[in-house]
Amino acid sequence: MSMRLTDEELFSMHKFYQFVRANSMSLAFQGIISQDILSLVGTTLRKKPNSEIVSKRLFSIVVEMAQNIYHYSASRAYSEKDKKEIGVGVITIGENKDHYIVNSGNIATAHDAISVAERCEYINGLADEELKKFHKKTLREPQRADKPGANVGLIVMSRQSENKLFYDTTVINDQHTFITLSVRVSKKLFM
């Protein structure tokens, strides 16, 4: 009996390896991104050779992305720990010459994908002081009835990255869209 991998398996691992190498990705998660995983991410990030503030900001961005996926992803899996279905998606942490790059991707309802895109556009259109005011105003609004979040995740990601929010959408079918969010933190911050 041959224990060799199929050509397809070999090829995809090779592709995966090339992809994560080319994007200098140090961490990549797919599935249920639990708090235990987040806590490991926190420990790993704090060992990176950058300023502690930047590490904390990257961690914060990962946490907010993970929580968006947990609550809003349209693709869900049963969590033994939570005893219920929770959202799944992917998160990667990588870098290029100038930036640390945190990406998230998940399937969303077409409706949610449009509202995320619109919110990114709105946030990207605000100057720093306006964004700060919008953050304050949103935080003081009453908790939305059917939403567990604070509705400020994207605002905080933009403020912490001191950058615009990059996003992309890929329509899968009438009901579902894959949404990618990319948050880029300059390596020059706090240098």
Binding site: Q35, G42, K56, H135, R140, P148, V156
Partner: protein, 126 residues
Amino acid sequence: MENLHINATDYTPEIHLNAKTGILTISGESYHDQTMVIYKPVLEWLQEFLDSTEKEEVILNLKMTYYNTVSSRRFLEMIELLELYEQKRSIKAVVNWYYQKDDVDMLESGREYYDNVNLAFNLLPY
């Protein structure tokens, strides 16, 4: 009234609410994805305490190293309760916001709370 003590985990803070002294302290990390699991009993305790205490002053110490956005809303809800009872029962409330002295982001977050709330509010480096 009983004190409320909750031990810290990797992603939830240590919480100590002391009914006898009127000192409430929350410290550490806070990024539980279901914040209400942690903060619902805290908010309920605080409400009951403010309704029944004979103390004239209550102190809220927030000594966080990291918290997510949902937790920031929970902190604001606690502060709003303190604001309400300062008016309603004249219980003076003081918020002490502790930050590690190099942590400019935690200082900035404290400043933003300071701007947003109508209570005695101290920013304290450690």
